[in-house]
């Protein structure tokens, strides 16, 4: 057990485990030390200086976010001098921060704006220094506005340490310091994988998603267009946070909402996740039983992971499932299967998707295969955050909407489809069906706890037809290397493979922690969101993709069978190496 420390904060006696920071210790006795650069999900960078406190007997100010409480310390967190210093820190930050709050993507949702309001700053104390730094929307997924940066360093940590991408870094120093891709290149020319974790962690409007809401409104008001929509699994578990409710599943209300916004048909990406499983589990069966292609099989639902692999791990291409992501599959089915059954001209269909993800904005034009229907299969991608804005613009009382059902033939999903939104979910869903494909029998227990939870790399064995299937699940791009290196070493040494099946999602927690999800994510929030999805799965009558009657119908009426010629043409894709830097 850790040693405990006794100290005083604002004359309140306190006993905490050794290593507790002053910030955390203060919180435990209901004292809120203001913070700005510190994000509860990330280690402290100690760059802003808002959280300074005094310690008795020391003439130095201490930063509460990164200073551990020491034995016998007597800390003062608030007095007129400390408040004045914090105020000066804010005034200095404002001296080179634009005053464009009213027309900023983070208006009313900005950590800097909030703390400045708390301090009641009503005039500019220091003369404004304008930094002449250009905006960069080259990726059409993540937008950089470096003039709005307060140099907290969160995006740098996220990009370099959490995601191991190294697209962003601090260049120059002192007053000239700025965040940027290496050298004078655009983000699209950098290694960026569009995961958007930087945007989800940025305290201000310096990094935001590419804003597609106006495009959606425009499509909806066009009488010649037939607008349809799909929602991803993870969106239903997080949209409530925009209205103050966390960890609750809002599927029914989302369907009602999207219909009210004017969409002619409301589909669910979870249905297409069931299709993905049919294809991917068949691929696994072929590789595992017949040895048609090498094992391990690696999942490819995550476009950031695909981009990361195409840049950094091209030796793994042969292991990649060729199956498209559910998002793309729903797109192509809406413009083929759905269109023909309902006599709709597919050229008039506008497929909008609501995703927890910024990389999905990139995925829709990743290769020509994303237009397998003959048209671009998904036309516009919105993040969960963008949908929350649309709800507000439309004047809909979301929380009090009645629950409705999705539109049929591309809406009804099995429990397996909805857990796709969590790390381990794709693996679990795939194994439920792969077991059936391999053995012809159903699993007695479909809950596969070994692949659930937030452990960085989850490894386990699942018995399928008397054989052990060894699996690994990694989330957070920095955790992938460990898994892939184990495969590489075994291959090189000609030893038995460490895994048969690997699932990778770029964002920590999987899609529930996606880069397009509501702000201020922590492991606590990720767990709540995932729990809402697992609960949805648990309460479904049909929990395995291959048992979903609408999936059976889809194959009977349209696709014939998994990996059929038609499936291969519409539902599968290819991969190629891409340069890490375009120049």
């Amino acid at each position: 057990m850790a040693k405990s420390i006794q100290a005083k904060i604002n004359d309140i006696f306190i006993k905490v485990p050794e290593g507790t920071t002053i910030l955390e210790a203060a919180k435990s006795v209901q004292i809120k030390i203001p913070t700005l650069c510190k994000h509860p999900d990330l280690p402290p960078s100690a760059s802003c200086g808002i959280c300074v406190v005094k310690a008795k007997g020391s003439n130095k100010m201490l930063r509460a976010c990164c200073t551990p409480l020491d034995e016998g310390m007597e800390i003062t967190t608030h007095d007129p001098e400390i408040v004045a210093i914090r105020r000066s820190v804010l005034e200095l930050i404002l001296s080179n921060h634009p005053n464009d709050c009213l027309i900023c993507g983070r208006n009313n949702n900005c950590e800097l704006q909030k703390i400045v309001a708390d301090f009641g700053i009503s005039e500019e104390y220091f003369p404004k220094i304008k930094r002449d730094l250009p905006m960069d929307d080259s990726t059409k997924a993540v937008v950089l506005e470096p003039e709005k940066c307060i140099l907290c360093g969160r995006c740098i940590y996220v990009c370099q340490d959490m995601q191991d991408v190294w697209a962003l870094s601090f260049l120059q120093r002192g007053i000239k310091t700025r965040f940027s891709p290496a050298g004078d290149i655009t983000l699209a020319e950098s290694p960026c994988i569009k995961c958007g974790q930087c945007s989800a962690h940025c305290p201000t409007g310096a990094i935001v998603e590419y804003f597609d809401v106006p495009k959606v409104w425009k499509a909806l008001e066009n009488p010649d267009k037939y607008c349809v929509v799909q929602i991803a699994p993870a969106v239903r578990a997080s949209i409530g946070e925009a209205f103050g409710v966390a960890g609750k599943n809002f599927t029914g209300k989302l369907y009602a909402l999207l219909r009210r916004l004017g969409f002619k048909a409301v589909f669910d990406t979870s249905f297409a996740a069931d299709v993905t499983i049919m294809e991917e589990a068949s691929e696994f069966e072929q590789r595992f039983v017949k040895g048609t292609k090498p094992l391990p099989l690696i999942t490819t639902c995550c476009p950031s992971w695909v981009d990361f692999m195409e840049k950094f791990h091209t030796d793994m291409i042969e292991h990649f499932s060729s199956c498209k992501s559910p998002h793309e599959i729903l797109g192509v089915l809406s413009k083929t299967y759905y269109a023909s059954k309902n006599n709709i001209d597919p050229s008039k269909i506008v497929m909008v998707s609501v995703m927890p993800c910024t990389a999905k904005k990139y995925e829709i034009t990743r290769t020509d295969e994303m237009s397998a229907s003959g048209y671009q299969d998904v036309d516009i991608v919105m993040t969960t955050r963008e949908l929350a804005l649309m709800i507000k613009q439309a004047g809909i009382d979301f929380m009090n909407l009645p629950d409705e059902e999705s539109d049929t033939i591309l809406g009804e999903y099995a429990g397996a489809g909805v857990i796709f939104g969590s790390t381990g979910g794709v693996m679990e869903a795939a194994l439920r069906t792969a077991n059936y494909f391999i053995t012809g029998e159903e699993l007695k227990k479909v809950d596969l706890d070994v692949v659930r939870g937030l452990k960085r790399v989850k490894e386990g064995e699942i018995e399928v037809g008397g054989k052990k299937v060894r699996v690994a699940v990694a989330h957070g791009m920095a955790n992938v290397e460990y898994v892939l290196n184990k495969v590489r070493e075994a291959k090189k040494a000609g030893k038995e493979l460490p895994y048969h099946f690997i699932e990778v999602m770029a964002c920590p927690g999987g899609c529930v922690g996606g880069g397009g999800q509501p702000y201020m994510v922590t492991d606590e929030v990720r767990t709540l969101r995932a729990a809402a999805l697992y609960e949805d799965d648990k309460t479904k009558a049909v929990r395995c993709s291959h048992q979903n009657p609408y999936i059976k119908r889809l194959y009977k009426e349209f696709l014939e069978k998994p990996l059929s010629e038609k499936s291969e043409k519409l539902l599968h894709t290819t991969y190629k190496g891409r340069p890490i830097y375009k120049r």
Binding site: Q160, W166, A167, L168, S169, F170, L171, Q172, R173, P181, A182, G183, I580, Y581, R583
Partner: protein, 160 residues
């Protein structure tokens, strides 16, 4: 991944420091001594070979004033902006140089002939304002002399 082959010059430099941790700055030093600046193509090669992300290399190059990202130019023009020179009108000289050369300080002309830089005090305040071209010091420079000074070097380049 050591896929790309290094050019011979760079390979020699890297070999010199191979196996010594924290040698990135020393390698960059040697590269700048070789080329007069750190070319992007070289940084990309280094990143690949040393398995150091390009972003980290650029963090270092842009942090230290010493490292240059552009070719240095044939002649280096240094305008002294120390207190004495400044008071004697050095900023007029700088503006004149900017106008004639069409570049800002810290950059090189398109033809590669001149690089313009600002320095703080060259240690000869009695001669203010001072402009230095390569190793030659021009003292008590006035705005109308700037074009003449430049033409010395332009003519020399034209002859060759």
């Amino acid at each position: 991944m050591r896929e790309e082959k290094l050019s011979v010059d760079i390979e020699n430099i890297v070999k010199k420091w191979e196996g010594k941790k924290g040698s990135l700055i020393m390698i960059l030093h040697d590269i700048q001594n070789l080329y007069g600046y750190v070319p992007r193509a070289t940084s990309l090669q280094l990143s690949n070979y040393l398995e150091v992300p390009l972003a980290r290399i650029y963090e270092v190059i842009t942090f230290y004033h010493f490292f240059k990202l552009e070719p240095p130019g044939k002649h280096l023009i240094q305008v002294c902006m120390g207190t004495a020179c400044y008071l004697k009108g050095a900023s007029d000289l700088l503006h004149e140089l900017r106008d004639i050369l069409g570049v800002r300080e810290g950059t090189t002309t398109k033809d590669g002939l001149f690089r313009l830089e600002v320095v703080r005090c060259l240690g000869c305040c009695g001669l203010a304002p001072v402009v230095k071209v390569d190793s030659k010091v021009y003292s008590k420079v006035t705005k109308d002399r700037v074009a003449d000074i430049l033409s010395e070097y332009e003519q020399e380049a034209a002859v060759k």
